[in-house]
């Protein structure tokens, strides 16, 4: 057991070499790392937000909204479908179709029993559309007929599909908003069915992030109805087809009454950018796509002299008068903007609308300075703990203690290497995990050395005693480490960021410590014993 052949020694050395190679870049500055020869890996341990400072947001995508919007649209279409078209007769309903949010079901009641089949056919035809493109392998809606009553329900698969789509789209929009240049510093990932995690390092002002994220970003161009005064709007009596919107804060108080149906919507805007205004101040210039340009040209041609309102998330950001038809497909929004507002608004317009509301359900932020303090404190604790254990091992086990200490050193290098290799994130609890691993990693060696002591006390010769010690301690080492590893796995599943960081380093530490404590020390002890054949060993 103490003899290692050339290949085994080579294997151990190679593993340690790679561990050191991957751990190495962490001790360099960015510039030094960049100037290293090609064989030196560039990956290094990512510091968690608690160590480098930054903001963590957990957002919930209100997927129910998406489903409800879709069902509301379907309800309107169903109603339209009952109207006469060509030689198709009108189908009279007992009342307007109703929508039940709980069961995501639209219910129609047909007045004339003889038309129920006809109505059901129209409903089926309408809801079949889009079934193929969804890749659901089935229809997105189920249609059931019960007497005069027709129920149209969205299937759970379709709900999940639309929910997932909303999450994916939201992630794209959020990315365009907070990381417009795509430097990938900000991590945006889905979590679970309807969650998004946003991790922005270095930025400990989460309010600024949220100001960008939480805006729906719905941009609409409305025709202003000047025949109704804002006073009427405030008393709440508006004719059908008219709504009133308040001015955005920087535009002043008051509100305007506009036509409810927008003339052009934000999805027809292709690009928007903030720029200085020739008259001083700032403006947002934007371009429509082909469809938007056509619609805007038609609208402005027919309404010269009228006002139109640019409405962003229910607030009027600008309400200019149409001086002449705008046919070029581009325009400018001027107003009393500050530089921040103008660039934020441009980003909002450019990134498009969120498919659903994002609710922040968890927020954590750490200042960069506090993070740096934590790194320093963690490093000091690590070094002091390490030195303490090293001294204690040498005092207790002499030469063998030195072997265990070398193994411990190799262990820390391997942990650092593994963390870099996997690109794992090191958090403050993660550092605690490493320190704890140092305390516990020597356990395997303690088990072995105590066993060797017993064997020597039992009268065995050194080489035999050491050999037996390693052999007999193995079962306890294995059991002990498997249990810790299992605990780490569960912690990883438990999930939340910092705890995960602890679980990762603990799990890696368990694996590397078994290797260094059981294999590396055996190699060292073996070469000593077989090399100098001592009559007795101090242990």
């Amino acid at each position: 057991m103490l003899q290692f052949n050339r290949w085994q020694v080579g294997g151990v050395a190679l593993l340690l070499f790679f561990g050191a190679l991957f751990a190495f870049p962490n001790f360099l500055s960015e510039e030094q790392a960049a100037s290293m020869p090609g064989f030196v890996p560039q990956t290094r341990v990512n510091l968690g937000l608690d160590l480098r400072g930054g903001s963590y947001l957990l957002l919930k995508v209100e997927t129910d909204e998406v489903i409800d919007n879709r069902m509301a649209g379907l309800r309107r279409e169903l109603q339209r479908e009952m109207r006469p078209r060509g030689d198709r007769p009108r189908i009279a309903l007992q009342s307007l179709p109703t929508y039940n949010q709980e069961t995501t079901t639209i219910t129609l009641r047909v007045r004339d029993a003889s038309q129920v089949e006809d109505a059901a056919d129209r409903v089926r035809d309408l809801t079949r559309e889009g079934a193929l493109s969804l890749g659901l392998g089935g229809r997105p809606y189920t249609v059931s007929v019960d007497g005069a009553r027709i129920d149209v329900a969205m299937t759970p698969e379709a709900q999940r599909y639309y929910g997932d789509e909303a999450v994916k789209d939201s992630i794209e929009v959020v990315r365009r908003r907070i990381d417009p240049v795509g430097n990938k510093e900000v991590a945006i990932q889905p979590q679970g069915a309807d969650r998004i995690i946003v991790q922005a390092p270095g930025d400990n002002d989460p309010e600024r992030l949220k100001a960008l994220i939480n805006r729906t970003g719905q941009l609409n161009f409305h025709h202003v109805d000047t025949s109704i005064s804002p006073q009427d709007a405030e008393t709440g009596v508006l004719p059908p087809g008219r709504v009133s919107f308040p001015y955005a804060e920087y535009e002043g108080a008051g509100s305007l009454v506009v036509h409810e149906e927008p003339e052009v919507t934000g999805d027809m805007v292709e690009n928007a950018s903030a720029e200085p205004n020739p008259d001083g101040g700032f403006q947002i210039s934007f371009q429509f796509d082909g469809r938007g340009a056509r619609r805007f040209a038609d609208f402005t041609r027919e309404n010269v002299g009228e006002l139109f309102a640019i409405v962003l998330d229910g607030e009027i950001i600008s309400a200019p008068r149409i001086q002449s038809p705008i046919t070029g497909g581009s325009g400018r929004i001027t107003g009393q903007f500050t530089p921040e507002e103008v660039s934020r608004t441009a980003t909002l317009i450019r990134s498009g609308a969120l498919p659903a509301t994002l609710t922040t359900i968890e927020q954590r932020s750490v200042g960069a300075e506090l993070g740096a303090d934590s790194v320093r404190a963690g490093a000091i604790a690590l070094i002091v703990g390490f030195v303490g254990v090293i001294i204690y091992m040498v005092v207790s086990y002499g030469r063998f203690g030195v072997y265990a200490d070398l193994a411990l050193l190799a262990n820390v290098v391997l942990i650092a290497g593994a963390l870099s290799l996997f690109g794992s994130t090191l958090t403050l609890p993660g550092i605690a995990g490493i320190v704890l691993t140092i305390g516990m990693a020597v356990d395997a060696n303690v088990l072995i050395f105590e066993r060797i002591r017993e064997e020597i006390a039992g009268g065995k010769a050194p080489i035999v005693a050491v050999e037996t010690g390693y052999k007999k301690a193995w079962s306890a080492i294995l059991d002990a480490n498997v249990t810790t590893f299992l605990a780490a796995m569960i912690m990883f599943q438990l999930g939340a960021g910092p705890v995960r960081g602890f679980a990762v380093t603990l799990a890696i530490g368990v694996v590397t410590s078994v290797f260094t404590a059981f294999v590396l020390t055996r190699l060292l002890a073996g070469s000593y014993l077989l090399g100098s054949r001592p009559k007795a060993i101090a242990l």
Partner: protein
């Protein structure tokens, strides 16, 4: 050079004879812990209870009473203000905890927490002037806090369950029972300690408890492993003497490993900074309790459950054709 041996060789301390005393002590601690958790309750941190944690630091020392009054005047329910060492050295630092805000007409459960944060920051900026800084903010809404409680409980139960299965697989059910009783014992007493001290009970403490579960198991397994080995070696030896022998043989290792782990943990506790303090405190406590329980609870329990004496024959499954 004479080597340090904290535990002399060939000890023969009759540990299992103390099992009645240990049982009474353990039972008393467990009962007291359950009573403490039931009456005092755990001081759940923001992770589990929802609400706001805000670290405040200022160039000048901060008057705790003033901060308490300013925050208390906002009508945000129970608010705690704790002094901490300011990371930058001079100046002052406090941590403000605001309990979870109820949903109101203007704000739902999630938004209400953020509204509270904004109010507290505004009030403290008024009080302390522009030099004030908020190096750490944590806001947890009701959705997440509810989930975290559930996840935490599941994790601890799952961990104990997996240990049970693993020991069953590697040993026998009698060992498994003993180990699990010891584990549950450790977890309950750790919870009791948190109830008595009213230290913040956060997600990190759940991680600490899981690590304690792993560590305590580790300790127990080493003793059990030796018991099993001795069962093979001394076929006729009386069980109590055999368990005592096994504990004594592994005693030096038990003490040694506890000490190295404690060295590392103490270093973290004293030098690792404010954020880790609760976590390392739980771990230190856990290592002490875990070490005690493997020697005084888990091992003597084998005398109660009894164990299979003859390990030399093949398992019955293998013997049937």
């Amino acid at each position: 050079m004479a080597l340090l041996k904290l535990v002399p060789e060939n000890t023969s301390i009759p540990f299992t004879s103390m099992r009645l005393v240990a049982a009474v002590a353990s039972a008393a601690l467990v009962v007291a812990s359950i009573a403490a958790v039931a009456t005092l309750g755990l001081n759940f941190g923001v992770d589990f209870r929802g609400g706001v944690t805000l670290e405040v630091s200022d160039d000048a020392p901060i008057d705790l009473g003033e901060v308490r009054r300013a925050v208390g005047a906002l009508g945000l329910g129970e608010a705690k203000v704790q002094e901490i060492a300011d990371s930058s050295g001079e100046g002052g630092g406090v941590v403000v905890f605001i309990e979870q805000q109820e949903a109101s007409e203007e704000a739902d459960g999630e938004a209400a927490q953020f509204a509270a944060l904004t109010k507290v920051k505004a009030a403290l900026t008024d009080l302390l002037g522009d030099g004030v800084d908020f190096p750490r903010e944590e806001v947890v809404g009701p959705t997440v806090s509810g989930e975290l409680i559930q996840k935490g409980v599941i994790a601890v139960v799952l961990a104990i369950g997996m240990m049970l299965a693993y020991i069953w697989l590697r040993f026998e059910w009698q060992f498994s029972i003993g180990a699990i009783i010891a584990l549950v014992h450790d977890v309950i007493i750790t919870l009791g300690m948190f109830a008595v001290t009213q230290l913040d009970f956060t997600l990190a403490i759940i991680a600490a408890i899981l690590t304690i579960v792993g560590y305590s198991m580790n300790d127990t397994v080493v003793v059990y492993d030796r018991v099993r080995e001795n069962l093979r070696k001394y076929k006729k030896k009386e069980l109590q003497a055999l368990v005592d022998l096994s504990i004594n043989e592994t005693l030096s290792r038990t003490v040694m490993t506890s000490l190295t782990t404690l060295i590392a943990l103490l270093s973290l506790y004293l030098l690792g900074g404010e954020v880790l303090r609760g976590f390392t405190f739980a771990m230190i406590w856990g290592v002490l309790i875990g070490t005690y329980s493997s020697v005084f609870v888990a091992a003597p329990l084998l005398l109660v459950t009894g164990v299979k004496r003859d390990w030399s024959t093949a398992a019955p499954v293998a013997a049937t054709p």
